[in-house]
């Protein structure tokens, strides 16, 4: 609907291209910002409720039904809170850091196709652009840590840089496999490649149903390994538990947000969640079929491409499922140590991602009739590589301590 409205407005404004362009950008950006701000609010609620249940608590349940309006109350609190800026901090960068986090996260969203024709900035190098802008996040976080002039902030910023730079490599490498296989950097084409074309347009509704799923990259060996690597690296990239070292409460207060309060803190929070949405959105685009999902042809339409459930519904459904998994992981896994974090990235994820790239390249050249056997072999091979890597990493773990006088 919005798309149609936007197209209509564009048509009306065709006489002045410059104005049309500005209006077009606004029309695309405003709903995006609004929808994701709402998603953020809902996710904070989901996270608090989910974590509470995992920890055998009830969670927020006072404001509105099931505490659903809690984010609004929190927002009001955040806005009305006093904004404290340390006297010796670098005021300008202290101010600009949260904005930068939010802007870079939001900008990443521009390349995600939420539905058919619902990509805000449809460019053919979207994946590269995405990672380039995501890299700005690191800068912003470090800026926050440095500008605060606080040892905890600085430590948090340092950790963030080390972690984000390390994990960016497996993140990109796992995305590279998809780019290799599809042969395009355009996110729309990547999504399109995950539909089994022959099935999806067939008359048989069951086959069409399957055709929307079976092509997902996550069901291929390289896609499966790639998705897992991507997901783990995404956790680290967005500072989510168990990789939330930059804001480890038990060690460095709140890391780089230690000196932030009030609305600036809220901006950081928002930026981080939007960043998580963006990275998850890319994961969905690359591996989970984007906005494709089991779908039907509406009975009133004869167009074989018409869908009963709009694509963005599937997209947001997948996003929230992944978000729930993120919350679930947060409720389960304890935080890693810094050395564990680093060795995991460099000794496990990176080699595995590299091997995965080669496996993908190998599979690309396998003839069509041998695909099945090659896939099974690739699965086994990748698993063995992963197992071997984990074995190798275990050897430098210290032996379990022996207690001589205990007992």
């Amino acid at each position: 609907m919005l798309v149609q409205f936007a197209n209509w407005v564009q048509g009306e404004l065709a006489c002045s291209p410059a104005l049309a362009k500005i209006v077009g950008i606004l029309l695309a950006a405003v709903p995006l910002a609004t929808v994701f701000a709402l998603c953020f609010a809902f996710t904070t609620w989901l996270e608090r409720k989910g974590l509470a249940r995992i920890q055998n608590r009830i969670g927020p349940n006072r404001v509105g039904p099931f505490g659903l309006f809690q984010p609004i109350a929190d927002g009001i609190k955040m806005i009305t809170k006093e904004d404290i800026v340390p006297r010796s901090s670098d005021h300008f960068f202290h101010l600009i850091a949260p904005l930068l986090v939010l802007v870079s996260s939001m900008a990443c969203l521009a390349f995600i196709p939420f539905g058919l024709g619902m990509t805000m900035s449809p460019i053919d190098t979207a994946v590269v652009f995405f990672f380039a802008i995501l890299g700005m996040n690191t800068l912003a976080v470090f800026l926050a840590g440095w500008a605060s002039r606080n040892k905890y902030s600085l430590l948090g910023g340092m950790r963030a840089v080390a972690q984000m730079v390390s994990y960016e490599i497996p993140l990109v490498l796992s995305a590279v496999t998809v780019v290799m296989m599809v042969g395009s950097l355009d996110t729309r084409e990547i999504v399109g490649a995950q539909v089994v074309e022959g099935w999806a347009t067939s008359e048989n509704s069951g086959l069409r149903f399957l055709g929307q799923i079976a092509g997902w990259h996550v069901f291929t060996p390289w896609g499966f390994a790639g998705f897992i690597i991507f997901f783990i690296a995404a956790l680290a990239e967005t500072n989510r538990s168990p990789f939330d070292l930059p804001e480890a409460e038990s060690e460095i207060i709140a890391g780089y947000v230690t000196e932030y309060s009030g609305f600036k803190f809220a901006l950081f929070f928002l930026g981080e969640y939007i960043g998580a949405f963006a990275v998850l959105g890319l994961a969905i685009t690359l591996f989970l079929g984007g906005w494709n999902g089991p779908n039907f042809q509406p009975w009133w339409s004869s167009d074989p491409h018409a869908l009963l459930i709009p694509g963005f519904v599937w997209f947001f459904f997948k996003m929230f499922v992944l978000m729930a998994v993120l919350i679930w992981i947060r409720g389960t896994l304890p935080r890693l140590r810094v050395d564990q974090l680093m060795s995991f990235a460099w000794k496990f994820l990176l080699p595995l991602a590299l091997v995965n790239v080669f496996v993908a390249g190998f599979l690309f050249h396998v003839a069509k009739e041998d695909r099945v056997w090659a896939s099974v072999a690739a699965f086994v091979f990748l698993y063995l590589v992963a197992k071997g890597l984990s074995r190798m990493n275990q050897s430098d773990a210290p032996a379990p301590r022996k207690y001589h006088f205990a007992e």
Partner: protein, 298 residues
């Protein structure tokens, strides 16, 4: 050789189970013990104890008070949050009742020691749930009238304990009565003997001399108790020897009577020597009687 990452999945299964079970009635009790406080009421059980309160018997709050202002609890309270001032009648004579009995519940740590040491079962632990107050200082200093609660209330919150205490009190009363009787008989016998002796003596001497041995006893005793009353707790700590007798075995019936004797003799300051034997038999019941008498006088 277990599957790669199986440890993580095991952990995830545990949290998933915890998450899911909170939504089913079967797992509710164990997994979701939270009580929605203002709606679902409090979590007070029969075993809840928080702060002490004073019991009164019958209908009248002040007259039915069991406390005799013996100040044992005041001295024993570890954080020293009890403050007692004894009541005096218009003659300046101490009545067996506290005029001021303050407990600073912001200091009280709920240790129940005051309850343990009270020889008269006058102070017991409460289980009131909603103690929130608006004033940090004044409201948290509970005075005598706030602390006084009826025995019925006590029976309501801790029925078994209350019954045990009542039985204990009744047994004590019976024992005291028996003792009193025995003592009265003895006194009667002594009086008879004395009368006989007096008769003999009156033929020879004047009466005052004969009464002297009776007055001897209270004269010796007031020294210790009066010291106790006069000195603050800090000073009392320096002289533990003087304190020890009432402190160590306050629950024993004999000590009680002694205590009461001390109190009464301290109060009367040896003036009413003839009343002495009756007062030493003091139990809760006697205190009441006395309190009533005092009321009648005033």
């Amino acid at each position: 050789m277990d599957l790669l990452g199986s440890g993580i999945f095991k952990g995830m299964a545990v949290t998933l189970k915890n998450f899911a079970m909170t939504y089913f009635d079967r797992g509710r009790k164990e997994r979701l013990p939270t009580v929605q406080y203002p709606e679902a009421g409090d979590t007070v059980t029969l075993f809840t104890r928080n702060f002490p309160f004073l019991i009164y018997d019958g209908e009248e709050e002040v007259d039915g008070m069991r406390c005799v202002a013996c100040q044992i609890c005041e001295r024993e309270c570890p954080p020293a949050c009890i403050y007692i001032v004894k009541e005096k009648d218009e003659n300046g004579k101490f009545v067996k009742r506290p005029k001021v009995f303050d407990i600073d519940v912001s200091v009280c740590m709920g240790c129940q020691i005051c309850v343990e040491v009270c020889p008269f079962d006058a102070i017991v632990m409460d289980s009131e749930f909603e103690y929130s107050k608006e004033d940090r200082f004044g409201d948290l200093l509970f005075n005598r009238d706030e602390l006084l609660k009826s025995n019925d209330y006590y029976h309501k919150i801790h029925p078994e304990e209350a019954q045990a205490r009542d039985a204990n009190l009744a047994a004590k009363k019976a024992a005291d009565e028996a003792k009193k009787k025995a003592r009265e008989e003895k006194a009667a016998a002594a009086a008879a003997a004395k009368a006989a002796a007096e008769k003999e003596a009156s033929e020879k001497k004047d009466s005052p001399e004969a009464s002297e041995p009776v007055a001897e006893e209270p004269k010796a005793e007031p020294a210790a108790p009066s010291e106790n009353h006069a000195k603050a707790e800090s000073e009392a700590k320096e002289k533990p020897a003087a304190e020890e007798t009432p402190v160590e075995e306050p629950a024993a019936a004999t000590d009680e009577t002694e205590d009461a004797k001390e109190e009464s003799s301290g109060g009367s300051e040896g003036k009413e020597t003839s009343e002495e034997p009756e007062e030493t038999a003091g139990s809760g019941e006697d205190d009441e009687k006395k309190a009533e008498e005092g009321e009648g006088v005033s």
